[in-house]
Amino acid sequence: MGLGKFLIKRTIQGVIVIWGVVTITFFLRFLTPGDPVSALTPPDAGPEVRERMAENLGLNDPIHIQYADYITDLLMLDLGTSMRTGRSASIMILARLPATLELALAATIISMIIAIPLGVISARRRHQKSDYAATMFSLLGISTPNFWLGIMLIILVAVVVGPIPTGGRDVSFWEATVMLFLEANPRGFGNWAIHIFLPAITLGTYFTALLTRLTRSGMLEELGKTYVEATRAKGLPETLVLYKHVLRNTLIPIITVLGLQLGTLIGGAVITEEVFSWPGIGSFLIQQIAYRDWVLIQGILIVIGVGFVVINIIVDAMYAKLNPKVVTE
């Protein structure tokens, strides 16, 4: 089976899961006690207004028609109309997406920069002080609620560094880039970095700890394999032995675990955004839950669910690329 064929198979599976995600969210609306008409109309609206609204929303149609309409709309990337603001849900959600992506990416990058070397060192110096320290760190990291960590970091930074902004995003990465290249103004980037730093650390901690753990145990397992000795025996520099051979092979299974754990990252983003007033899709979700705007809630769930599935397909593709057995067997 070639890589292409593998990906096609995986994509078909992905589409099925996405269909499931969409269907689950569609029926979620029927579980909610409040009806959308009451949410959309003023309290003193008469029955004819309500009837008109229900008609407009297609709520009088039989459920399979509603479902078909819903799917058709989704295929045209239309997530519906916000119950509270009457605006296009797609546009509102899309506006929040970059902030979340920025945060998640920053957290992932920070995690990888810290966790992989830490895991490598920890495995190399097994049962030494640095190993115990790294192990303690990762145990703490996976056991700390990140919203609390965020609050504590805010206090800590205020005490150590003095008052620095700890909320909001101020500028987007895109704006900062534009400022840098068009106006030769690095201030935007400085601002961006200051604002994203604490949220990214907060969000990244669990991931860092998990990745350190996985890297450590994966490295230990991998280091015990004969090919490592063989690679050393042929005189390859230790750096290459560790990184080109051992770490690479360690990361192959880790990648799939991380793909699944991305959910944790997105879930973590929701609460991190809430702590740091980060204007992303997560704080938006919490806000919409408060407003009970089910169209937006459904839209956000679909975007997150689909994003998760797509990312996992990409992860699988990476896995297939790194692990020759998948494709050839």
Binding site: Y227, E229, T231, A233, K234, G235, T239, L240
Partner: protein, 412 residues
């Protein structure tokens, strides 16, 4: 000490593993000399320290293991010139143990290389075979392109270079000439269509082919000493002979020294000039093939050989020897002949650890057994339950492994 044709002299080598359960004396006070250009066989049960000895020579002992004592003198006049005036030099010989880890690292591949038992697990599964062999070539090419400096660290290739190599092809470790050389080597070891096979991954190879590739990889640095650790154990019987023939052929061509580690006496008989028999971390008997095989002195050697009907056979099982594989835990190694508890000829003398004793005047044949000097008499024999009575409790407590009466061709 005067034999100038020795390429390797090992004196009093001790390699220990410091585990949670205690100290394991994997190699215990081992002395051996290996002559330039010979094929030296090491035989013994698994767990006798054969592989650890090999890894000690090539300096691949990993934590929690450590070489705690001993000297490994390696004949290398060019290195000796460079290290002159230090303790590490004795004439044309250098003491590997006295060299820095970096310096020792440089000897891997170029002076020593190694063939492992299971080719499938000795290749990295996610990198093509060609690339892995080319790495070996490249390592030696880079080492040589530097004027033979022992200070060369990591061959000037660090993590940054590796990371850049992901982007810039000029920064890649393996160069085109090395890849070409890898294909030549594959051809040399008799792999058909070497250029195509070089692009394949280990799991696409058969076992025999992969072992050939392993040999090709080991030859990449044109080593002085090739350590072959059970090179045929994992292979089909029919393939074993081919691989052994290939090794013998290559040895004749290049004149390299081969240290052949095996539990298979047939292989030893077929390949080796001289033999050492290992038991519990030490060589209990050594000599020429004829000395040891025709005139074994040590009861352990005798036991091993007892089951061989035909020395020309390739796949022979060792005769089961009664008793447990010895514990190598330090606190369970009493100061006596380690074999005494399993020895059918155990005597009172055996309660004292025997030194190496010459069997005859030619000086080649020696054994760590009092029987070299004394005749066995039933009068001095220890009672049969002597060890069972005194050491049973200790044995019951440890020995988590299955008690095995045999060693042996456990991979067949």
């Amino acid at each position: 000490m005067s034999n100038v044709t020795d390429i390797l002299r090992i004196d009093g080598l001790k390699t220990r593993f410091f585990t949670d359960n205690g100290q394991v004396n994997a190699v215990e006070d081992l002395d051996v000399r290996i002559e330039d250009g010979e094929v030296f066989g090491i035989v013994g049960e698994s767990g006798s320290g054969k592989s650890v000895m090999a890894l000690s020579i090539i300096d691949l002992i990993e934590r929690p293991g450590r070489i705690t004592d001993g000297e490994i003198w390696f004949r290398a006049p060019d290195i000796a010139d460079e290290l002159v005036e230090t303790d590490a030099v004795d004439g044309d010989y250098v003491d590997l143990r006295a060299m820095s880890p970096e310096q020792r690292g440089l000897l891997r591949g170029s002076r020593f290389s190694m063939i492992f038992q299971d080719p499938m697990s000795s290749f990295n599964p996610s990198i093509t075979v060609g690339e892995q062999i080319a790495e070996a070539v490249e390592a030696q090419r880079r080492a040589r392109s530097n004027p033979r400096s022992l200070d060369a660290k990591s061959q000037h290739y660090g993590l940054t270079d590796y990371l850049l190599g992901g982007v810039l092809s000029s920064k890649r470790y393996v160069s085109e000439p090395s890849l070409d050389r890898a294909i030549e080597l594959l051809e040399l070891v008799g792999i058909p269509d070497p250029a195509e096979r070089a692009e394949e991954y280990p799991h696409e190879y058969s076992g025999g082919m992969l072992q050939r590739a392993m040999i090709a990889q080991a030859l990449a640095g044109e080593p002085d000493v090739l350590i072959a650790d059970e090179p045929t154990t994992a292979l089909d019987v029919t393939i074993q002979a081919q691989v052994l023939d290939l090794l013998a052929e290559l040895q004749t061509e290049t004149g390299m020294t081969i240290l052949l580690i095996t539990h298979n006496l047939g292989v030893v008989a077929r390949m080796c000039d001289r033999v050492g028999v290992m038991y519990a971390g030490e060589i209990v008997e050594r000599g020429t093939l004829g000395d040891v095989f025709d005139n074994p002195v040590h009861p352990y050697t005798q036991g091993l050989l007892g089951s061989i009907p035909d020395l020309q056979g390739v796949a022979e099982r060792l005769q089961p020897i009664e008793g447990n594989v010895p514990s190598l835990l330090d606190h369970e190694m009493p100061d006596r002949c380690y074999f005494a508890d399993r020895c059918p000829k155990a005597m009172e003398e055996c309660l004292e650890h025997p030194p190496e004793l010459a069997v005859n005047d030619r000086g080649q044949h020696a054994t760590r057994c009092y029987l070299a000097e004394t005749e066995y008499t039933a009068a001095k024999a220890l009672p049969t339950d002597y060890f069972g009575a005194t050491e049973a409790p200790a044995e019951a407590d440890t020995a988590p492994e299955e008690p095995t009466a045999t060693d042996g061709g456990d991979h067949q």
